[in-house]
């Protein structure tokens, strides 16, 4: 699987894509594949504050629940409503299915996250591939 080079990644399998001083957040293709058929997404509300490394919601497949961890801190400016009615979109296009858009508090947090290359290495080790 290819991870977009312009995204950054967490070891908890979220991605973040920076766009000026805002950023969108989703889960990786590796994560959706591990979870299987996704049926439920619990997202924060617009205006909520995300704090880097803390949970901000959850995603559930038929067989498992997984917490979502914020890759960076910031105020939620939008959520992807599509995913509450059609969470299976995450399975078909994980890297295109953003969950929340935040106003970044500290751009420096993002630079500490994994690059696509490092994340790829990380999941290969974790998945024993």
């Amino acid at each position: 699987m290819a991870f977009p080079a312009d995204y950054r990644y967490t070891r908890e399998h979220e991605w973040i894509k920076v766009d000026g001083n805002q950023a969108t957040i989703g889960i990786t293709d590796y994560a959706q594949n591990s979870l299987g058929d996704i049926v439920f997404v619990e997202l924060p509300k617009v205006g909520d504050e995300l704090s880097a490394g803390k949970t901000f919601g959850s995603v559930e497949s038929v067989k498992a629940v997984s917490d979502l961890y914020a890759p960076a801190s910031g105020k939620v400016v939008a959520i992807n409503q599509d995913l509450t009615t059609a969470p299976e979109k995450i399975n078909s296009d994980a890297h295109g299915s953003w969950m929340v858009r935040i106003q970044l508090k500290d751009g420096g947090e993002v630079s500490k996250l994994l690059s696509a290359e490092d994340y790829d290495k990380f999941v290969k080790e974790e998945g024993g591939q």
Binding site: S34, G36, D37, V39, F40, S58, E60, S61, V62, K63, V65
Partner: protein, 357 residues
């Protein structure tokens, strides 16, 4: 195959192949095949095998004819579960007990110990068979292409022998763990044979859209049909009445292990009983989640819970006090930190349309 594997009762088992939901739907609407070789097989034979089976299992084996099987359970003296089993009557003095993977060693030891007073042998044949389950409304059409046996004469929970994929005298049982019509076949466990039959089943099923299915779909299918899973709905802490399996427990037959305790438990009354829940509010109740009354008092727990792919609802089996078990009663399920409303509903959640035979 591209299967995701998981350790299950010491076996490396596929959780899913193409996807849990599509596999589940294939079995409900077409056909799917499961490798269920992890199931254990205990053969009890000898002149007193019938008496032995009656002693160690709660259903009444005197009702079985040769070629017939039924659901039963092995019980501790407390009336709780060693395991649930399918008892097959192979012959007058031969009974095959199909048991669970996770409890195999325990079951085999327990059976050996408890049939000692009878002139019979209990043999663990688990390693001799690969068990494939072909399940779904189109299962018969698939199997028909691979066997000379007349499948239309095999009633639900009966079995016969026939040539399957060139293997003579293969046991073909109309049983399963999906709530759907289907067959389980018992073939030699050597790898080339198992692999060949698996491939031939998939090939024969192609025109019916067959899918190889994993443990994930097996679990959601059995849950929709309210079939028990060991360590969830049944265990050494849960008795027959609580598990709502009384219809398989024949108190009027000769004495059996657990009977006295069950007699007593019946008189004393139940403290909890298994019910079906359907989530009313947004949220999925899962295994182990706590259940509260509407007034906020903790009253029980979910034994198995999941989204139900065919019913498209979030369902659960839960243990609650009888006072909260009426259909329509509203309870709260603690889904992580939130309390989410659910309602007691009739079970099984899913019941298949009548058999065409």
């Amino acid at each position: 195959m591209g299967a995701k594997m998981v350790d299950f009762g010491g076996w490396d088992m596929p959780v899913e192949y193409s996807g849990l939901i599509s596999e589940h739907m294939a079995v409900r609407t077409g056909v799917g095949v499961f490798d269920v070789s992890h199931m254990g097989d205990i053969l009890i034979r000898g002149p007193e095998s019938f008496a032995a089976v009656q002693h160690i299992s709660m259903n009444d084996a005197s009702r079985l004819q040769q070629g017939q099987a039924h659901y039963s359970a092995l019980l501790y003296p407390e009336g709780t579960f060693v395991d649930d089993v399918i008892v097959h009557k192979l012959g007058e003095n031969d009974y095959l007990l199909v048991i669970n993977a996770g409890t195999r060693e325990k079951d085999v030891n327990w059976v050996r110990q408890n049939v000692r007073g009878f002139r019979c042998h209990a043999d663990d044949l688990s390693d001799y068979y690969t068990q494939l389950a072909i399940q779904g409304p189109r299962a018969a059409e698939v199997l028909r292409k691979l066997t000379n046996a007349d499948l239309s004469t095999i009633k639900n929970y009966w079995f016969t022998y026939g040539t399957v994929c060139g293997l003579p005298n293969t046991m073909i049982a109309r049983t399963g763990y999906t709530g759907e019509d289907g067959f389980e076949i018992y073939i030699p466990s050597d790898e080339p044979t198992s692999r060949r039959v698996w491939t031939e089943v998939l090939e024969a099923g192609k025109e019916f859209g067959i899918l190889p299915c994993g443990l994930g779909a097996r679990n959601t299918l059995r849950l929709e049909s309210k079939m028990a899973l060991y360590d969830h709905e049944i265990s050494d802490k849960i008795n027959v009445w609580e598990a709502d399996l009384g219809r398989y427990c024949k108190m009027e037959k000769s004495d059996f292990i657990g009977r006295a305790a069950l007699e007593k438990a019946k008189v004393e009354g139940l403290k909890r009983i298994l019910v079906g829940l359907e989530m009313i509010e947004r949220g999925i109740g899962r295994d182990g989640y706590k259940v509260f009354s509407e007034s906020g008092e903790e009253i029980g727990y979910i034994s198995s819970g999941s989204p139900a792919p065919f019913l498209k609802k979030n369902i659960a089996l839960a243990y609650v006090p009888p006072s909260h078990s009426q259909i329509g009663n509203v309870v709260l399920v603690e889904v992580r930190s939130q309390k989410v409303k659910a309602q007691v509903v009739p079970t099984p959640f899913y019941k298949r349309p009548k058999n065409k035979g």
